[in-house]
């Protein structure tokens, strides 16, 4: 815990991979809440590929972070001081409170979390946060898996992909995962994936052919680029392509062309659909009920990769792009209070 409010502010729009110099490290005074406000100390900062989108100029699905602003980011924290009747000191809350130690909120930007010693707080940024919602609604609502179908998942060892594959197995599908190391491939096979492809050492298109003898019914994509193209080559009639992310192109400084076999969407009468978890906030409980049940019954596993210290947040984002994270990536900002 510090006596200052340490912050990473956006200093420059990155060119390709982010550099630490794209941010400015500042130590501000801890802000004081006025009537109606709550002061929160952040405990964990979620590290997500989408941060790279927010750092670019121009609208995507949210406005970009402006130069000079505290970098936006998903957080779990504890209420330190409250002048708002709905929140008490000690409450654990979730929000988009940014890359900093302390933040003020008027109650509209935070949600109080259920304190339960059996649920690690980091889960609220992962399986019970955006990752869980993305996996659950992306697969169930957009992918609509039917028993016996074949699902292919990219970024399969990540916070979203690993859940997609496990939910796919629960739904009776054949699941093939694509990941970036032998360790990741071994891990997803331990989770129950029927097959795993290491895209750094195997020809993805050939491997997909071997592992998907009956073609691909659902492709759950978080990467885009060549892997999307390889998957599109093998889609079945009426396949669903769930667009969850396009991490392969977030660092691009030039426009990236779409897949060359894009015509397959037409020929195979496929449906390609993008979604953002923000669209499902009113259905959170649906996902949480199923995910919670599966997790506590041991039917799904979830892995969190913790990086210590807010000062390491910029480096942590790059771990997503070089694939060195193992599961959902989280940065510790300060210590958890005793529950």
């Amino acid at each position: 815990m510090t006596n200052a409010n340490r912050q990473w502010r956006l200093a420059a729009r990155p060119d390709e991979l982010i550099k630490e110099s794209d941010f400015e490290w500042r130590e501000d005074a801890i802000p004081s809440p006025v009537e109606g406000e709550i002061l929160i100390r952040n405990i964990y900062l979620s590290i997500d590929p989408t941060y790279r989108i927010w750092m670019n100029e121009g609208e995507s699905y949210m406005p970009p972070v402006e130069i000079g602003e505290v970098m936006r980011g998903g957080t779990v924290g504890v209420v330190v001081e409250s002048h708002h009747s709905d929140f008490q000191p000690g409450d654990i809350v979730q929000g988009l409170l940014g890359w900093q130690d302390y933040a003020l909120d008027n109650g509209t930007g935070i949600v109080k979390l259920f304190k339960d010693a059996s649920i690690p707080l980091t889960h609220y940024l992962g399986i019970f946060g955006g990752n869980g919602l993305a996996a659950y609604f992306g697969l169930m609502d957009i992918g609509k898996p039917k028993e016996g179908e074949t699902i292919v998942v990219s970024a399969a060892a990540g916070g979203v992909g690993s859940l997609v594959g496990q939910i796919g197995k629960i739904k009776g599908c054949r699941v093939v995962g694509i990941a970036g190391s032998d360790e990741k491939c071994r891990w997803i096979k331990k989770l129950g994936f029927d097959a795993a492809i290491n895209y750094k050492t195997e020809p993805v298109s050939e491997s997909l052919k071997g592992h998907c003898p009956e073609g691909i019914d659902i492709y759950f994509d978080s990467v885009g680029g060549e892997i999307l193209e390889a998957a599109l080559d093998r889609i079945n009639l009426h396949a669903r392509i769930v667009l969850c992310g396009l991490i392969s192109q977030y660092n691009a400084s030039e426009p990236v062309p779409g897949p060359c076999n894009f015509a397959n969407v037409l020929y195979k009468r496929a449906r390609m659909e993008g979604f953002i978890v923000l669209d499902y906030l009113d259905r959170v409980m649906e996902a949480m009920t199923d995910l919670g049940t599966w997790l506590f019954e041991g039917k799904i596993q979830y892995r969190v990769d913790v990086v210590e210290g807010l000062e390491n947040a910029p480096r942590a984002v790059n771990m997503l792009f070089d694939g060195s994270n193992r599961g959902k990536l989280v940065v510790t900002v300060s210590e958890e209070p005793p529950i």
Copy 2:
């Protein structure tokens, strides 16, 4: 009428635009039907962009036409001789009987048409054929227009696009058409389109901005390429992109990259879906009932461009690619019998 069976057979896989030398002109003997067979004389041959796909090697949504085979094509013809109890000489039938004067069928590849002097036979290859089904189900089933939404249609003066726009107006939408000449633009505005863009003389992206002040909810695409990209730039949240065709790339000899702003499908949580009318054959009557009613009530108009003579079929296909056709393109093969 001839005493031979004139045919265009595929002689070579075309390189970019088709040439007459990609076909072989043959005059075979008129075939004789045996027990269970029907001999049909073709009257009209439909000319469709998809022929260009069928001439390429490799599977698309149908097997390619093999070298040496009579070129595949949609036809309306008259039964000349029948050894099948369901068909009588004089019956008018529709099928995929190819680029030739005469064909045999065993009854499974043809459908008997309703003879009505008020319905031009060419309509069965257009508004009451594949064009009508594509426009109707593509817009209604995939696009799902809601009153007040904005629909953009490419190839808007063609056999499909002109219907899409008119159905869109019936459904209470704002409709903007993109076509390739001032004459075509004038015509679609006469049909009721709210605005028309001549892509050969106007910057499509800028014009779309002006004509779609509230963005694009449905983009009905038959062309792909730059126009698809311009439309994707302006889609609204939860937009639907109906992929009916990709005519801009059918002649390409190299793989064509998808749109560079493909990420907008994700950011705008859009749905991009391909379809082929073959998937809707069991729902034909649904479309025909509505289209027939609207046509006879004068709520929609439909224009047919007739090219005389089977010998001109290869040239007619190219008219689709240089945009010189005006509406649904049909080649006359032989004379209509009196009704």
